[in-house]
């Protein structure tokens, strides 16, 4: 399988602060790749280097088989973290403009614009001015701008942030549609559940360095089955001062507990303290892994 993106030893500094440190990464063609990491960890800088918006201080960036990432620009769709739309333009003019900058002819663009506006559940709005749109509508228009030229690689920086569940679902369907059309999709997100459900592979960056890279299963395997999900009569209070409890994630009715030793020994000790209604040995969730890595 070829790689849509290949980063080798990429480093980027801003005024002496290391934003990305010796990063190597390979994104297989046709995959959906999730970028996760705390705020300020280097996600957006990495995406901007892939987009050739920023140049690395060291290392190589190869996009769609070309080391001159500028040459691949026309085949790459990009949705930035902060949306950039001309308030005074109509949607039609804006989408035509962005599409033409990707090298598409207006005649081909018009059909694509109509198609994507329908998929985004925004039919009949093409002649509306951008400033009259709601936040969700604007975000969907920004997504259409990224895909209207039918890119081979789609880079989305926090695409689902701020969307209500209905609009988020519309956008997720659109991302999956792009994958069905053969595009590689890379998106950054803080929503671990979305990353778990949608991504073939997940990459986590922390303080500029790669800390996770692989499928969800392989990542979870690295952390073993040290997590138990319990429901007890005593709730979280029953876990107080238990020697083999390393961390508790309390959901009220349910607790996720990371245990230090054998889960069966922990179950025996817990049963001695309180009535146990539910006990499940499980692998840590992506959310749990994220917190383990990023928690100070």
């Amino acid at each position: 399988m070829t790689n849509a993106i290949s980063l080798t030893g990429v480093t980027k500094q801003f005024n002496g602060t290391l934003a990305v440190d010796d990063l190597s990464l390979a994104v297989p063609s046709g995959s959906i790749y999730g970028f996760i990491g705390p705020n300020g960890s280097g996600k957006t800088t990495t995406l901007r280097m892939i987009m050739h918006i920023l140049l690395p201080d060291r290392g190589e960036v190869e996009v769609l088989g070309s080391r001159d990432t500028a040459a691949a620009r026309d085949k790459v769709g990009y949705l930035p973290e902060e949306r950039g739309l001309y308030k005074k333009m109509t949607i039609r003019r804006l989408l035509r403009y962005y599409g033409r900058l990707k090298g598409e002819a207006t005649s081909r663009l018009d059909a694509s614009i109509e198609d994507w506006m329908r998929r985004m559940e925004l039919p009949g709005l093409l002649d509306r001015q951008i400033e009259t749109l709601s936040k969700g509508m604007s975000q969907k228009v920004q997504f259409v701008a990224a895909v209207v030229s039918n890119p081979s690689l789609l880079i989305l920086d926090e695409p689902f942030s701020g969307l209500d569940p209905v609009n988020a679902q519309v956008l997720k369907d659109a991302v999956l549609e792009m994958r069905r059309r053969g595009a590689t999709v890379v998106f950054s997100t803080h929503d671990m559940a979305t990353a778990e459900r949608m991504c073939d592979r997940i990459f986590m960056i922390f303080r500029g360095r790669k800390v996770l890279d692989g499928s969800l299963e392989s990542i979870q395997n690295q952390y073993g089955a040290d997590t138990v999900r319990i429901r007890t009569a005593g709730g979280a209070a029953a876990l107080a001062d238990m020697p083999d409890v390393e961390a508790v994630n309390d959901f009220g009715q349910l607790q996720e507990v990371r245990v230090a030793g054998d889960p069966q020994v922990f179950l025996a000790r817990l049963s001695a303290r309180t009535a146990v209604y539910h006990f499940e040995v499980t692998r840590p969730s992506l959310q749990d892994i994220f917190v383990r890595i990023a928690k100070p």
């Binding site: 026309d74 990009y78 930035p80 950039g84 403009y97 900058l101 990707k102 090298g103 701008a145």
Partner: protein, 436 residues
């Protein structure tokens, strides 16, 4: 279509559809024309209040003739007395106050108080020595309206005319004869003779102030206004794109240099369109009002457009770079001031260039690339115009400067466009330019 031209097309369309463009196109000539007409209409009509003033005549012979002259002036009756002006403003009404041996200072205080009470507008003293040319005596004018100069000017002309009459009378000289004999010959200013197509000699044309000065001045004003309205629009456009993060989307599709060039080309095209419309309107007005359309030659129009485009690339690059380096309009306005001065300083020196367009100073200033669009254009519009080598040199210097400024502006634009937080300083911008 190259991406630069796609950006230029979008920029042009956006600019010509803005209210600012339409206001410039339609309202500005109306406002300017209306202002000129208003100034003309109100220049003499606004002030019609009578000005009553006291005349303290220590000669005993000036006050009466002065009252007679004032009567002629106030009734707009033509006078044989040279120096009597046609009335344009209010009536001037002299009231004679005889000194009758009173203390001069006491009389002055009394008259000053009458002026303060509004009974008089001013008072004037005519000393006895005024009739003696060797005495060097002055007409003394007292008023609490120091900014009002119509009455003192009128008095200087009228009192001197009456005083001269009296001096001639006392010397038993016929003043009318002196006036007739000392009448000066007027100067008839004309251009040069030319060979006519029929082999004869084409007579020299009369020099017209409108043609000689009006057209160069209009070209200068049009250049100034076009640059001052167009270049800051580019800055606003860049800041809007930067603040709303549109820049990041655009540089995902196009290089920052292509983006900047597209903006400059689009801005220059919109400004050129605006200027062409104004020039066409100017031609119509010049032809209608004085048949001066032939004075706006294709060469002047051509040089104007070339200088305009080059200057828009120079000033536009500077404004675009400032826009990219700033994070809000307030910061950009502070940084714009030095660039604005570069535009304004040549206009301040235009007067000296007009008076002596061939002087060393005018030549040197008009070769400075940021001043050339104003001053070289002015010299070209003023007959006979500068030597061709100077025009070509100024164009080459401007083109070279435009390339250098576009290159430097491009480096600032590329770095500044994605920077957030505080605006850059000039020192930081210089470092961006020098960086590899």
């Amino acid at each position: 279509m190259p991406k630069t031209l796609i950006v230029a097309q979008s920029e042009f369309t956006t600019l010509v559809k803005t209210k600012a463009f339409l206001v410039s196109l339609i309202l500005m000539p109306i406002v300017m024309g209306g202002s000129i007409m208003l100034v003309r209409a109100t220049k003499d009509a606004t002030d019609s209040k009578d000005r009553t003033f006291a005349v303290v005549d220590y000669t005993g012979v000036i006050a009466e003739p002065l009252k007679a002259v004032a009567g002629l002036y106030n009734s707009s009756t033509p006078s044989a007395l040279d120096g009597v002006l046609p009335r344009k403003g209010p009536r001037f009404i002299p009231v004679e106050i005889r000194p009758d041996g009173r203390d001069a200072n006491a009389l002055r205080l009394e008259l000053s108080n009458r002026v303060r009470r509004g009974e008089l507008f001013a008072f004037v003293e005519l000393p006895a020595e005024i009739l003696d040319p060797a005495a060097g005596a002055s007409i003394r004018y007292y008023s609490d309206h120091p900014s009002y100069n119509a009455l003192p000017q009128w008095l200087r002309a009228m009192v001197n005319a009456v005083v001269l009459n009296e001096r001639f009378r006392q010397a038993s000289v016929d003043r009318a004869l002196v006036v007739r004999l000392t009448k000066q010959a007027p100067i008839d200013e004309r251009g040069l003779f030319e060979a006519a197509s029929d082999g004869g000699v084409k007579p020299a044309e009369e020099v017209s102030v409108a043609r000689a000065i009006g057209i160069p001045l209009a070209a200068l004003v049009l250049m100034y206004m076009t640059i001052m309205t167009s270049a800051p629009q580019l800055l606003n456009s860049v800041i809007e794109e930067k603040m709303s993060r549109i820049s990041e989307v655009l540089v995902g599709s196009i290089t920052p240099f292509e983006l900047m060039m597209g903006k400059l080309i689009g801005g220059a095209a919109a400004s050129t369109l605006l200027s062409v419309i104004y020039i066409a309107g100017g031609l119509l007005v010049a032809q209608y009002w004085g048949g001066y359309a032939s004075a706006i030659t294709p060469a002047i129009v051509g040089w104007f457009l070339l200088f305009l485009i080059l200057s828009l690339f120079i000033f536009g690059s500077l404004f675009v770079a400032i826009g990219a380096a700033c994070n809000d309009l307030k910061d950009s306005q502070n940084m714009m001031t030095p660039v604005m001065l570069l535009v304004m300083i040549p206009v301040f020196t235009a007067g000296s260039v007009m008076r002596a367009p061939d002087s060393t100073l005018a030549t040197a200033l008009s070769l400075v690339p940021t001043a050339a669009p104003f001053l070289m254009l002015l010299r070209i519009s003023l007959q006979p115009g500068p030597p061709m080598w100077q025009i070509v040199l100024s164009v080459l210097l401007m083109a070279g400067t435009a390339c250098a400024v576009v290159w430097a502006g491009g480096k600032i634009f590329r770095t500044g466009l994605l920077m957030q937080g505080k605006s850059a300083t000039f020192a930081e911008m210089a470092r961006w330019v020098m960086a590899k």
